[in-house]
Symmetry: C2
Subunit: 165 residues, 2 copies
Amino acid sequence: MGRPSTMSKAVARSPAPRKAAAEIDFGPLAGWIGFHLRMAQIASFQNFGRHARDIDLSPGRFAALTVIGRNPGISQTALSKSIGSDKSTLTPAIGSLVKRNLVRRTRTEQDRRTYRLTLTPAGEKMLRDLTDCARRHEDDLDAIVGPRERAQFLRTLRKIAEELG
Amino acid sequence: MGRPSTMSKAVARSPAPRKAAAEIDFGPLAGWIGFHLRMAQIASFQNFGRHARDIDLSPGRFAALTVIGRNPGISQTALSKSIGSDKSTLTPAIGSLVKRNLVRRTRTEQDRRTYRLTLTPAGEKMLRDLTDCARRHEDDLDAIVGPRERAQFLRTLRKIAEELG
DNA sequence: GGAAAATGGTTTTACATCCAACTATCCTGC
DNA sequence: GCAGGATAGTTGGATGTAAAACCATTTTCC
């Protein structure tokens, strides 16, 4: 496919119709909440990753760890509902946390289907470290949102999650 | 905390130490923007899915289609930057759009590394249909956010994406 | 008491996504 | 011009995710 036409067209000098990132036309996307929610979440996710680079745990697992820490004995299904991920997603996630000795999974005698999830001491330490990372990440977000808007912004986010959940 | 430790098991009648979703303790998560951003985005994603169930295209591809439609001739790299996904993610995504005859990918003679992406007529039709779905999804979001807050909310989201990007 | 429905978890399948390494093409400096 | 660096896109490997089918157990209801 060498396209041997040797550039007979050779428009040559035109500086290219290439688009700079800044001049992209987003059309209706530009005014849509859903789109910007997605973009903001992607950016926030990446920023969290920067703060927690050393510690090797994703935001999702961090949320899981926090909820387990605060609600010892919680079941996997309840956990999955609370953090908004599918229970089938949680199976390998919890598995890896158990393998890393951060979470303990014990059967109950009352209901032999469920597990009780609790943190190990190592899990509690990890949670403390991660909470520090998240705290710094939150400081970044707070600085951007600003103290005036913060409460209202949070309220709106919560409302979206509740009413669409 | 609960944990009456009376459980010699066989408590039988106790309505279960099971947690209802409503009474989960989220600890510091409860006040964090990053967490609620994530939850809101998950909910929004699912709601979009409900509206676009018939049409078989994810939000990410929808965004790609829109940007291509608005910026005919855009390159894959520029597209990936604009919608915030990795260029390697885009390779199979564009591939499937091309296979479904929604997008055309043409080589340029000036720079034989890049592709020019454009919509096919079928792609434009698909974009119109999807835009209708997204419009309904947006209506849901608008109803939740409310007209008073909308502009400020959007401004804040945009700021987060920009400053953390 | 037992069949039927519900519930907790796992497995399987199918993608989406990122990162790092790679190929092919271009651009730059000498 | 041509070697070395940049850039466009692809590939491979690892992980995250959801949905559906599935097993084991418990609960409901007759």
